[in-house]
């Protein structure tokens, strides 16, 4: 029936059923900007539009409810391509990162400004209270709204909202609207789902209801007979190829222990079958027609259970090695069960899958026993962190199609080239038959460093020739994508009375879940990004990773570092307290500083020997000094509420900038006929502003305006190779490649100019905007382009370069916070959070700040609220936003500040170091030490729930266990200690 309403100013009669959701109808009508982030739970707000001026979630509205109403979507905001005041202010404030929830945020603020032209900070929080954004931490939206107000009065108004760096440079270190920003702010087609053509099939998964079982029989005949079903894929007809889902450099330090569809299911939500059908509804109906019989096996959920003698074996297949097979392999494989499928190691990672040991490594420097013998005080503590999920608002999604006889994959991925390599291998075709196009990603955060669903859609398209859209639901995102490894870390510290560390030992135990992606490198990273913060001659680490039947784990912004940092930094706080020493003084005494050589890094490579690094730049000194002054360190703060205690905390943090010796990035630049440029970058922009970084490298080097440089990135057919965006490599590696390509282009340009001007290249320099000047004359790039591309020229100028390095550049930071702890309810409120970070030269300062705010708020969430909770059968009890609890704007610290501490790094492009991941390392230890400062208890397991705090305070009995029947993947119980 025709339902009449007003859409963006025009009367529309839309053919729809009254019980259809408005969001679905809007998308059908070409309004793509109402995004689906929660699958109709009504909790994420990504689909919200203005209905009669009020922001409402369109997943909760039926067409029958909107007849006669006025609907406005983000498409109504720009006048043609001209951005509105609010849209341009969002870009200038750096509040547009991935852009997936940007339309909803813009509309929330549009509605606000219409009803309250001079909104307060609380008004902004109220107006945005229903929108989840995982990228930005929300803070910069306050500045954006303020700027928009001023622009509404004066369209030319400019206010600088972020600091500027490097006066000697034009665009590097300056806030410039990100190159993909205007399109995202307009709500334009940019994401995987926006590429889908009519007639595309849908893919749905049948998932295991059991945590651990063999499939003994599977009958798909009834499903296949259902009209509209195109293809059904199970262990009976899927390729029997072992692979790993981790998008890491080849050869990977992760085992190949996954099959597309195996005989064994290893977690609740594991793949049993896939159905490809003409519609989503048919695919869902067909899932119910697949008959499966299981042989249910006992399961293990925790590290303790997995490591126990005689525990059920999660990966019991025969073991194979590409290199380094042990001599007794045949004997080891004698008891293997072929139904489990083989496990293939590229090289030994000291695994023993029969005992659920997925990987192990240990190492160190000096002699810790001697170090502990020298100590006046020894502290031994155990810290654990639960199971968290990055919840990108755009879930995992892929669109696959054939183009001729080649497979095209439109992905929301961090690793286009790894994806192509792995999928080509599974399909048994050469890589040239596969093209991966990275679309804009609606949040990735590490979860999209793994191939979570792409290979299933790719294979089904390869077999059927059909276009296929495969999109995870929010529940699937929780139970069957990738999560941060639960970990338990023992720390032993020895120190002299004066606070000098004499020995440091870290034993990390990780729960890798059913598959071994990142099983070695995540817990190793917990040590490698924590230990080098302290200067100590005697250091030892020991890492073990265990298989279990929890939801799969993988990469998540920060990798293992947030958990390692929590353990070591909190242990340092405890040691300082034990020594009767000020925490800050202890950090200052033992911290890393510029010029030192970190010998420990020799044994902390990723599955191979590492390289000791000399620390070229370290902003920790000024970060600690400035942060202490900001938070009034040492001054006691009190509350008017007799139930509330206030405390302050601090932590120091670091990360890396990509993986020296492992990572590689490439870029090429082509000069167009008028002297403008196309930059082809392999870099994978996840909403971080990496494309903008790359363009700035070229603009700065070639002295041309950014508008004269276009960029195409992360398309395996078009752009050169890049390992992808992970391990904080973007600015350093992909930005470095763009810079090197620009330098090569500069060399070529000067060579041509030298011919044209008859001057030696030494006399020549590039001059803004787009000119080469010599001593005698000058020539424009336009003329150089026409010359080179003429019938007598040397050909189009195309420069290609790559970036590799054996040098490590380490971003550093100090995070300070002030919390209020209610001793009656145990609730922790973050009153102040100051994140001071040295990322070298901040290339995009406004986006660098946004990444800090976003990383901090995510980890405040992990520290205080978020945790996947399991029942005894391994089922996740809270696979939704309402019960998992992602922080929203109302949870952000009232006084929230990110401060950039610049340093000029000699290795990074224009002195840049990484920014994103490090931001995740400070919140847990800083908050935990602030809680101790407030109420005198150390909470050593996160999240720091009110219940744990009350138990630690003795207000509730410490029954040693969480609620009956509830489990967490990291640890069997709640451990906290008053002291």
């Amino acid at each position: 029936m025709a339902i009449v309403f007003k859409l963006n100013g025009a009367e529309r009669a839309v053919d729809a059923q009254p019980a259809e959701r408005l969001r679905d109808v809007l998308q059908r009508e070409g309004i793509l900007s109402a995004r689906n982030g929660c699958d109709n739970e009504g909790t994420c707000g990504a689909c919200a539009v203005l209905v009669d001026g009020k922001l409402l979630n369109t997943c909760l509205l039926l067409m029958g409810q909107i007849a006669g109403k006025e609907i406005r979507t983000v498409e109504s905001m720009a006048r043609h391509r001209q951005l509105s005041a609010l849209q341009s202010s969002f870009l200038d404030a750096g509040i547009v990162q991935c852009g997936y929830c940007t339309p909803a945020m813009l509309l929330a603020m549009q509605g606000l400004l219409e009803r309250a032209p001079a909104p307060t900070r609380d008004d902004v929080k109220d107006a945005l209270s229903g929108t989840i954004c995982r990228c930005t931490g929300y803070e910069q939206v306050h500045g954006a709204v303020d700027l928009a107000r001023k622009r509404l009065a004066d369209p030319d108004h400019q206010t600088k909202l972020s600091p500027e760096f490097r006066e000697d440079l034009d665009v590097v270190g300056k806030a410039v609207r990100k190159v993909d920003g205007p399109h995202l702010a307009r709500g334009g087609a940019a994401f995987v789902e926006d590429r889908v053509r009519p007639g595309t099939c849908h893919l749905k998964l049948l998932k295991s209801p059991h945590a651990h079982a063999y499939i003994t029989r599977i009958d798909t005949s009834r499903a296949e007979a259902l009209p509209g079903v195109v293809f059904v894929l199970t262990c009976e007809n899927a390729p029997d190829v072992a692979y790993g889902s981790a998008g890491q450099g080849f050869p990977e330090p992760s085992p190949y222990d996954i099959r597309m569809f195996g005989r064994k299911v290893r977690h609740v939500g594991d793949r049993v079958a896939a159905v490809v059908a003409e519609t989503l509804e048919i695919a869902e109906e067909a899932l119910g027609l697949i008959d499966v019989e299981y042989e249910i096996l006992p399961h293990v959920l925790t590290i303790e259970e997995a490591a126990a003698e005689g525990a059920p074996v999660v990966q019991n297949g025969p073991v194979e090695y590409v290199a380094g097979a042990p001599a007794d392999l045949e004997r080891y494989n004698a008891g293997a069960d072929p139904r489990d499928g083989a496990i293939l190691y590229q090289f030994p990672i000291h695994a023993d899958p029969r005992r659920n040991l997925a990987a192990a490594v240990h190492g160190g420097i000096g002699d810790v026993e001697q170090g502990f013998a020298q100590a006046d005080v020894i502290l031994e503590r155990e810290y654990s962190g639960g199971h968290v999920q990055s919840t990108p608002v755009e879930p995992h999604v892929v669109y696959t199609r054939m183009e001729g006889d080649r497979l095209v994959i439109h992905g929301s991925t961090q690793v286009p080239w790894h994806l192509r390599r792995i999928i080509a291998r599974i399909l048994g075709v050469p890589e040239n038959r596969v093209r991966v196009i990275k679309e804009r990603t609606g949040g990735a955060f590490g979860a999209k460093q793994d191939m979570v669903l792409e290979e299933v859609a790719a294979y089904c398209t390869w077999v059927t020739g059909r276009d296929i859209l495969f999109r995870y639901t929010r529940e699937e995102e929780f139970i069957a994508s990738r999560t941060r490894h639960p970990m338990t870390i023992k720390v032993k510290l020895g120190a002299k009375r004066d606070g000098t560390l004499t020995a440091v030992q870290m034993d990390a135990r990780a729960n890798t879940g059913p598959y071994g992606g990142h099983c070695l490198t995540v817990p190793m990273n917990a040590c490698s990004k924590a230990l080098p913060l302290f200067l100590c001659e005697n250091v030892r680490f020991d890492v073990k990773s265990y298989y279990s039947n929890i939801a799969p784990t993988g990469a998540y912004q920060g990798y293992g570092a947030p958990k390692g940092s929590f353990a070591l930094q909190l242990a340092a706080a405890e040691l300082a307290a034990e020594l009767g020493m000020d925490h800050l003084e202890f950090l200052e005494k033992n911290r890393v500083r510029e010029g030192v050589v970190l010998e420990i890094l020799r044994c902390l490579g990723e599955g191979r020997e590492g390289t000791p690094q000399r620390i070229a730049t370290c902003g920790l000194g000024p970060a600690l000094e400035q942060g202490a002054a900001m938070i009034h360190w040492g001054e006691v703060a009190t509350s008017d509420d007799p139930d509330v205690r206030i405390g302050k905390g601090v932590a120091i943090i670091q990360q890396g900038s990509g993986l020296p010796g492992l990572d590689s990035a490439n870029a090429s630049i082509a000069m167009f006929g008028d002297g403008t440029f196309m930059l082809l970058s392999g870099g994978t922009d996840l909403g971080t502003g990496l494309d903008t970084v790359a363009v700035k490298m070229v603009s700065e080097t070639l002295r041309v305006p950014m508008e004269n440089i276009s960029i195409t990135a992360a398309d395996t057919d078009v752009t050169p190779f890049d390992v992808g965006a992970y391990a904080s490599s973007g600015t350093f590696f992909s930005g470095g490649a763009a810079l090197n390509a620009a330098k090569e282009m500069r060399r070529m340009i000067l060579e041509v100019a030298s011919e044209l001007l008859s001057e030696p290249t030494d006399n020549l320099e590039l001059v803004f905007p787009g000119k080469v000047a010599g001593k005698g004359g000058s020539v424009t790039l336009d003329r150089i382009a026409r010359h080179t591309q003429s019938g007598t020229g040397r050909g189009q100028l195309i420069a290609t370069a790559h970036f590799i390095t054996d040098k490590g550049s380490f971003p550093y930071g100090a995070h300070f916070c002030q919390v209020a702890v209610n001793i009656k309810t145990g609730k922790v409120t973050v009153q102040k959070y100051y994140a001071l970070q040295d990322c070298g030269t901040p290339i995009n300062p406004e986006l660098a700040l946004g990444q800090i705010y976003g990383g901090v708020l995510k980890t405040i969430g992990h520290s205080l609220y978020e945790e996947m909770v399991y029942d005894e059968n391994g089922r996740v009890l809270n696979p939704n936003f309402a019960d998992y609890k992602v922080p929203m704007i109302g949870d952000a610290p009232e006084d929230f500040r990110a401060i950039l501490i610049p340093s000029d790094d000699p290795y990074g492009p224009f002195g840049g170091k990484s920014i994103s991941e490090i931001s995740c390392n400070g919140a847990a230890p800083a908050l935990a030490s602030a809680i101790h400062d407030a109420v005198g208890v150390w909470i050593r397991t996160w999240p720091f729930t009110p219940e744990k705090i009350l138990r630690a305070l003795g207000t509730l009995p410490d029954d040693g266990a969480l609620q009956a029947g509830l489990r967490s993947g990291g640890t069997a119980g709640v451990k906290a200690e008053a002291g």
């Binding site: 059923q17 009254p18 019980a19 959701r21 699958d39 109709n40 739970e41 009504g42 909790t43 707000g45 919200a48 009020k54 922001l55 409402l56 979630n57 997943c59 909760l60 509205l61 039926l62 029958g64 409810q65 929330a108 109220d126 107006a127 209270s129 229903g130 929108t131 009656k824 309810t825 609730k827 205080l864 609220y865 909770v869 009890l877 809270n878 939704n880 309402a882 019960d883 609890k885 922080p887 929203m888 704007i889 109302g890 949870d891 729930t945 009110p946 219940e947 009350l950 207000t955 509730l956 009995p957 029954d959 969480l962 609620q963 009956a964 029947g965 509830l966």
Partner: protein, 301 residues
């Protein structure tokens, strides 16, 4: 799978449609519950209440009449309404939800920790129901208690203003609180947009240094919001007990269950604290304690 979307033009027609269509039909108001994937019941028919003109918030000579389709945001913004109800409205979800969710739907959904309900109970509010046999009123406390034990697919099936057993919620009447009556309102959530884990509202009067006619309502510790009659009896006529005494008293009178949102022990502890705080705030807000005027007025009603 929804087969019918009905748009009655009058309350009588809506009630008649519901009778004709039976239990597979659900009244639809804002839709924040019925249209959500969290709604456990899959109705065949939706009966929209949008055309019934039930969305007004009116002040009358002796109080307020709130239409069932008034949104939670409307209640929050209605400056004349008693503060406990407006503050309770501010605790509901987030702005996107508050602008769609309705009073009737909120009552019909009857969540165990529905944020408006404790405040309405403390305000002596009454629900107006349209039934086949005419209009009918009951207290909010009686209504939620009755709905919580209804058979069928659970309280959610009665969401968005529909109540299978007793009719359609059309309005809520709130008597104008006596100026001397004191109120306290507390809610415990983990995050800003969280559903309340435990919430409580208290109203009371003071005669001299004695508590008079206390109302204690608490959510999150039973299958619906509960009025703690035993606790009220113990408090009535007494001097203001210490916080600890009230906490222990309340904790002893509630039996929450453990779930993913908190253990029973934790909820019992927080319940005591929420009520104790609410009692103290209500006591401080109750005027006329010295001459007892407030109380005699209250009791005379």
């Amino acid at each position: 799978m929804v087969r019918g979307f009905h748009t009655p033009g009058s309350v009588d027609e809506a009630v008649r449609l519901k009778r004709e269509l039976g239990p597979s039909a659900v009244f639809l108001a804002g839709g924040t519950r019925v249209n959500s994937s969290e709604f456990a019941f899959s109705p065949d028919h939706l009966i929209s209440l949008a055309g019934l003109g039930l969305d007004s918030v009116e002040e009358t000579a002796d109080g307020f009449v709130l239409g069932a389709c008034a949104t939670v945001q409307q209640i929050l913004e209605a400056a004349a309404l008693p503060w406990p109800l407006r503050r309770a409205a501010s605790q509901v979800g987030n702005r996107n939800i508050r602008q769609a969710a309705t009073l009737g739907g909120h009552l019909g959904a009857n969540d165990p920790c529905a944020d408006l309900v404790p405040a309405l109970i403390a305000l002596d509010a009454r629900i107006v129901l349209a039934t086949e046999h005419g209009a009918f009123e009951s207290t909010v406390a009686d209504h939620v208690a009755a709905c919580a034990v209804l058979p069928g697919p659970g309280p959610l099936a009665a969401a968005d203003g529909q109540d299978a057993a007793t009719g359609l919620i059309t309005a809520v009447r709130i008597p104008r609180p006596h100026p001397c009556r004191g109120f306290g309102l507390e809610a415990f959530t983990r995050t800003a947009s969280d559903r309340s884990i435990v919430n409580a509202a208290v109203s009371l009067s003071r005669v001299g240094e004695r508590l008079q006619r206390p109302i204690v309502a608490i959510g999150g510790v039973g299958s619906s919001v509960l009025r703690l009659g035993q606790v009220e009896k113990i408090l009535a006529g007494e001097a203001l007990p210490s916080l600890g005494v009230i906490e222990d008293l309340v904790s002893a009178h509630v039996s929450p269950v453990s779930d993913v949102r908190g253990s029973a022990a934790f909820k019992r502890h927080v319940a005591g604290h929420m009520v104790a705080r609410a009692v103290v705030v209500a006591w401080q807000g109750a005027a006329g304690g010295v001459n007892g005027a407030g109380d005699s007025h209250e009791e005379g009603r």
